[in-house]
Symmetry: C2
Subunit: 352 residues, 2 copies
DNA sequence: GGAAACTACGTTAACGCTAACGTAGATCGC
DNA sequence: GCGATCTACGTTAGCGTTAACGTAGTTTCC
């Protein structure tokens, strides 16, 4: 009877070639209690050095890997940090993530990442799934989240960090840059350089709230001088070289009078746009100005560096990770940190 | 006594503002058994429509989120797919990942990703941590893994996919391209175009096994014509624009006689190198040839597209994901799939 | 040299959930 | 009209681990 039940259970489970070893197997082989194995594996006190060594050797031989699932259920704590980024196609998020790595590794926390495709529904379901794993912390990109997302995270009492966009009113913690201010600063700079007919080239759908904020900043700069931005071109789904290229082609074939400067969603789009301008016979910056955002790597190899706003992605990641770790450990930390953006006057805009 | 034990336990747990609702809370509020709530939440049979609706409403109100930790321990199954990529700085892996997304989402599987930094020790510990969560499947980049990694995955009996590099002898499943063959094909092409003094520009440390395979392929092509590649420059840690730029600068200042063609680790490095050549007054392809790998996005906007080998990253991701899902569901699938690489003759190498 | 303190274990009871099985009451078939 | 089947639940026994506590044997201290 006993036997039958067991074999049934086994057969019902996925075609398990061989069930992986569990703590009980190690205990039996070592002739000790389960608890002693548990202590030995975790390196906590209460086991003699000799027995510990023996148990560890046995565990290795049996290919025993403690189950984090059972472990975190029993201990009610976890070492997971859930990270959500809109896309991996923009190097920015890879750089932020890279900046966080060391801090989390030092704290013994492991990150698990997924992408939301700039979609709030995606993000919501990601948050729910993530919470169901009871992580030690959660990281979201940007500062605009659905009410559902905010309340779920708060209700779960999980430390959370919003990164990239700055807000005074975060779910929990926030580190980022003020995108509106960055756009405004760039706009004022361009006005000062004498530009009067700005255009914008971004991606289809205004899913990227930060980019929209920058555009608004730029617009208000021009508007405060009585100038308006009529040309708002959206091309492609991702902020790629190609999208920038196509956006400019579209613009040049439709816009009259021609804009005198183009503000791009980021440097990659700006480079694509630069290529399109030159292909169309326009000299940059003589005939038209090109402006990007982020200060991406490509800028370092171009003959004519693109005028852009440099963001400090790695520092941002590190700062955010430290704040989150502090919060998780119950230490004091600032709730919000705003990082500066450095305007870099390149050679794709005219000299003053 | 009973009470004391409970409160002690509570106090000992992390400063829980308020413990999140559990299935028991919902059951109590709804006046039904725990099992009925479980069934209602999972949408399985055995609950009347009326009760189900009521329970779901209650769950929402109590902010109840079923614990995946407890759930997968009890049900001994999981919906996790662990994905390991060497770096997020190369768009290639983002594209492969993107290609997999839809397939996994349709199968109700969720991915969790982390990076290994091209480090086998990193990868090993990632595999161990991942296995401890008992995922439904595991995805590794490349085909060179430590014995420990291979045996652990096999011992755990978890379906695994190796992607990007092709091998006849995978841990479990494999989809990728033959990098050696791609290098060989490009080498033969360059010989045919009349190139005789090839050079290579890659990154410091030969951590990227695929890139080394391509280089070997290229070399054997030249060697079979009695030509050798003397110039092997390593610059930077990441395969960035800048690394390509710096690599070429180094090369031009040291190499004599000057190589007539440079093979780069990828298109981004090639573009950086192209910039460095032009900065140095060399005309491409008149004075020197530039060759990349991957067929990255930037190539679509360049006046002179870079000669490269196009890889089909999105297709690769999709193919691999389908194979893995099939394996997880117990369906038949091929063990290995080799995808083609398309040589694209650009304008950074001379015409025949 | 005997109580106190420690060391190195073992035992028990969770952790939050689900599989498997049990069971009233309703429905059905002939 | 009565056994057979079905529906909608409830009960029981884990899943693999750890926290908390219990307990022999050993050491320490004055």
């Amino acid at each position: 009877m006993e036997d039958k039940t067991k074999s049934r259970r086994k057969a019902a489970s996925k075609r398990s070639t061989k069930a992986p070893a569990k703590i009980e197997d190690v205990a039996r082989h070592a002739g000790v209690s389960i608890m002693t194995v548990s202590r030995a594996m975790r390196g906590v006190e209460g086991v003699s050095a000799k027995k510990r060594a023996e148990i560890l050797r046995l565990a290795k031989r049996l290919n025993y890997q403690p189950s984090s699932v059972a472990g975190s259920l029993a201990a009610a704590n976890s070492t997971l940090i859930g990270v959500s980024v809109p896309t991996l196609f923009e190097a920015v998020f890879a750089e932020i993530f890279d900046g966080m790595r060391a801090t989390f590794a030092n704290a013994g926390l492991q990150t698990v990442m997924d992408t939301t495709e700039y979609d709030k529904t995606h993000e919501q379901s990601w948050v729910d799934r993530m919470i169901s794993w009871r992580p030690a912390g959660i990281i979201l990109s940007g500062a605009e989240h659905s009410a559902h997302t905010r309340s779920r995270i708060r209700a779960a009492g999980i430390p959370a960090l919003e990164i990239w966009d700055f807000t005074e009113d975060p779910i929990d913690l926030c580190v980022g840059v003020d995108h509106h201010a960055a756009g405004l600063e760039m706009g004022e700079h361009l006005v000062k350089l004498g530009y009067r007919r700005p255009a914008y080239v971004g991606v289809e759908q205004d899913r990227d709230a930060r980019a929209e904020n920058r555009l608004e900043g730029l617009r208000s700069a021009f508007e405060s001088f009585g100038l308006s931005n009529d040309h708002d071109i959206r091309a492609g789904k991702q902020a790629s070289f190609e999208a920038g290229f196509n956006g400019v082609r579209t613009m040049l074939s439709t816009a009259a009078p021609r804009p005198d400067v183009i503000y791009f969603l980021n440097d990659h789009m700006a480079f694509g746009g630069l290529m399109a301008c030159e292909r169309a016979g326009l000299k940059v910056p003589r005939d038209i100005g090109i402006v990007g955002f982020n200060g991406l790597n490509i800028n370092k190899v171009l003959d004519k560096p693109i005028t852009t706003s440099l963001t400090h992605r790695s520092l941002m990641g590190e700062t955010g990770a430290k704040m989150l770790v502090a919060k998780i450990l119950g230490a004091k930390t600032e709730r919000t940190v705003a990082l500066p953006v450095d305007l870099q006057d390149g050679e794709t805009t005219r000299r003053q």
